[in-house]
């Protein structure tokens, strides 16, 4: 599905800063040109069409979330964007350079943070950083200065000399991300960085991503946690079975399933009499029964709650627990695919 939702890129002053970081680079692209352009990517593994016509574009400074369940094709899609996987067809352009698996061109613009740890356990954090700095063509002096900065950002400065096999899981994750940041890429790709991470480290990771995205760097973030996508991403693409089924800001996506809250009230006793009255309340869009519960869709659920409860009590029912759910990406996903995001 081609993207139809207009992007609302943030490009404020970021290019100047990039030029500073990469002296000698002439940024020829106009301010409004997207940094990443992936066009009509396809990838098939045997019988599985893992990626099925995925197109997306990310502006400089923008954080783009690719949200979808496990196995939706997120990792395959970003592997192609990072140049690790040859698409069956389609092209990827990052910062004006076409990314091809058999060429190393344009790779400096990308920082990849793989889902699984990709660090040497028998080297220290500092050694890991210096190692990858060299692979990204940084001079020793730049590498050392930049490693200091990164170690500070990921909070490992005081344990930089220790072998990473002695680190906690969260520390390893942070280093894993730090290596991706090291060469100040224009695009940071984070593949499910919070999977299997304890809540505390997870929060630290999310905070650092929030902080980083302020600096003009574009971020491509994959996750199957909708809270993360909502919190971090300027724009979200919802991916399922290899296809981007919807794309836009959180508000835009939610508006596609309507603005109604969902009120679920557990009841005992008869509700048949009450349900007609509830439907007549102005603002209530729909009311229906589930087993031992009544579900009301309304434009502002909590405002209508007293009236709904009155009708139920008058009708002779007894009210148990009450749950008001505002519309979210979970609901969007359910609406679009008929599946829950997390099974």
């Amino acid at each position: 599905m081609p993207c139809s939702v207009p992007s609302r890129g943030r490009t404020s002053g970021s290019d100047g800063r990039m030029a500073e970081r990469f002296p000698g680079t002439i940024i020829v692209s106009a301010v409004n040109d997207p940094l990443v352009e992936a066009a009509h990517l396809y990838k098939r593994f045997d019988k599985l069409q893992a990626v099925d016509d995925v197109s997306l574009s990310i502006d400089p400074g923008e954080t783009y979330g690719l949200l979808g369940p496990n196995g939706a094709g997120k990792t395959t899609a970003i592997s192609m964007i990072a140049g690790l996987l040859e698409p069956d067809s389609g092209t990827v352009t990052v910062a004006g350079t076409q990314i091809k698996p058999r060429s190393t061109q344009g790779r400096e613009a990308i920082g990849l943070v793989p889902q699984d740890l990709a660090i040497y356990p028998d080297l220290s954090a500092e050694e890991n950083l210096m190692f990858f700095a060299s692979l990204y063509g940084m001079s020793k002096r730049d590498a050392r200065a930049r490693a200091d900065e990164v170690l500070e950002v990921i909070g490992l400065a005081d344990r930089r000399k220790e072998r990473t096999s002695k680190y906690s899981g969260g520390m390893k994750r942070r280093l894993n991300i730090g290596i991706g940041l090291l060469h100040s890429p224009r695009l940071l790709i984070l593949d499910e960085p919070t999977v299997g991470v304890d809540p505390q480290s997870r929060n630290a990771i999310l905070e650092s991503v929030e902080a980083l995205s302020g600096g003009g760097m574009a971020v491509l973030y994959t996750t199957h946690y909708m809270e993360e996508a909502e919190r971090l991403c300027d724009r979200i693409g919802i991916i399922d079975s290899g296809r981007v089924v919807a794309e836009g800001t959180t508000e835009q996506l939610i508006s596609r399933v309507g603005e109604n809250d969902r009120v679920r009230i557990e009841v005992t006793g008869s509700v048949d009499a009450a349900i007609g009255h509830i439907r007549d309340i102005s603002g209530v869009v729909e009311a229906s029964t589930e087993d031992h519960a009544i579900v009301v869709m309304a434009d502002d659920g909590s405002r209508h709650l007293p009236a709904v409860i009155n009708h139920l009590v008058d009708g002779g029912a007894q009210v148990g627990s009450i749950e008001v759910t505002r519309p979210d990406l979970e609901a969007v996903f359910l609406h679009l695919t008929g599946k829950a995001l997390r099974e």
């Binding site: 680079t25 793989p114 740890l117 356990p121 692979l135």
Partner: protein, 393 residues
């Protein structure tokens, strides 16, 4: 920002090699395999094949004939003679200490003079050498038997008194010059060459260097399982650079180890390796072949344990086929053809050319070319395989 990754190949390879070595020597056990193990092997072999490498021949019995035969055996220079008693000799041969033993009756001389045959017991150990030196031993006793048996023959024919016959035969034998057999090289020069420990040392050098370098496969497999290789590929680094970088560390180690073996064997056992420049170039190229093979195994295998088994199999197998354990000269013609499919045989040929025939680098250019081709093919296959492995989802 460099648009072109090529500009950075050398520093990248250097970085990869450096950290590869750091990681290698953080595993302390590798220190043993690089520094101590080769010396142990050379020491054991040196003691085995060093100065005192001639197989022992035991001789039991007394008398003129036996003394003469023992002397002739000593003179061949290819065996050591030990005079001993019968039962002791049987034990020594049984435990393979003495390779071949000969038991002669004490009155053997007399028996020959009496124109009777003498029965000798030829005691053979179960070693391969026994079959090889059996002929030498037989010849020595046959020569020693000439004089007494001619005495016996003539005494019977002439009917003369035995003392007189012995005196005449002895005098005649003295007067007749021995027929000499002279070994010469084509061209006429003397062929007394040293053949032995030099060749064994070259074989062991190639075997150890290849085997030890081959264990670098495990390092590449580790990089892959850590996810680091894939991450490297996401950086502006080509798969060729990765293969070269991962291999370079082991290449240095292999080269170092080869130099180490050369120095230790030259100092401790006086092995002469020949023209230094040629030898250095040769081991440099050979270590590169080994590093290439290591990368290929590392790209093909899936886990450490598998790689360990395959490493030993390839390292020892190719070594044996290539003539590092048994000189190529002893191979059958079929096996010699097979041997040329191994890098070891080419390197050995080059070592022979440089060490024994005083060749220089020009003389071993063909071998160096073949070895370089091995290296390029191994590295190329490794790069191809690594790309396939890493870019598979």
């Amino acid at each position: 920002m460099t648009r072109n990754g090529r500009a950075h190949v050398a520093p990248k390879v250097w970085t990869m090699a450096r950290y590869n070595l750091v990681r290698m020597f953080r595993e302390r056990i590798n220190l043993f395999f690089v520094f101590i193990f080769p010396v142990l092997i050379i020491a054991v072999l040196g003691v085995q094949f060093g100065e005192d490498n001639a197989p022992e021949v035991g001789v039991a019995g007394t008398g003129e004939f036996v003394d003469d035969a023992a002397e002739r055996l000593e003179e061949t220079g290819s065996v050591e003679v030990r005079r001993t008693g019968v039962s002791e000799l049987e034990d020594l041969v049984a435990e393979d200490t003495v390779t071949v033993g000969v038991v002669a009756p004490d009155d053997a001389s007399q028996m020959l003079r009496d124109d009777g045959g003498v029965q000798l017991r030829m005691l053979l150990s179960s070693t391969d050498e026994a079959a090889q030196i059996e002929g030498v031993v037989t010849r020595a006793f046959e020569s020693a038997a000439v004089v007494p048996s001619v005495i016996g023959q003539l005494r019977a024919a002439s009917g003369a008194e035995s003392g007189e016959v012995a005196e005449v035969v002895g005098r005649t034998a003295e007067a007749l010059p021995d027929i000499e057999i002279e070994r010469v090289l084509p061209g006429g020069e003397d062929a007394e060459q040293s053949f032995g420990f030099e060749q064994i040392a070259a074989g062991m050098l190639l075997l150890m260097t290849f085997l030890n370098t081959l264990t670098g496969a495990a390092a590449l497999i580790q990089s892959r399982t850590y996810g680091v290789s894939r991450r490297m590929l996401a950086s502006p680094t080509s798969v060729w650079t990765i293969v070269l970088g991962e291999g370079a560390g082991r290449w240095f180690v292999g080269l170092f180890q080869a130099v180490y073996i050369i120095v230790v064997s030259a100092v401790l056992f006086g092995v002469e390796w020949g023209d230094l420049v040629s030898v250095i170039v040769l081991i440099t190229v050979f270590a590169l072949v080994a590093a290439g093979a290591a990368m290929l195994v590392g790209a093909l295998m899936h886990n450490d344990e598998q790689a360990a088994g395959v490493t030993v199999m390839i390292g020892l197998g190719l070594g044996a086929l290539g003539g590092t354990m048994l000189p190529l000269e002893l191979f059958s013609s079929t096996m010699r053809a097979v041997a040329h499919a191994t890098p070891h045989s080419w390197a050995l040929e080059a070592f022979t050319e440089v060490g024994r025939r005083g060749g220089t680098i020009v003389d071993i250019l063909p071998q160096l070319g073949v070895l370089l081709a091995f290296a390029v093919v191994f590295l190329g296959l490794a790069a191809w395989r690594l790309r396939v492995t890493l870019t598979r989802a």
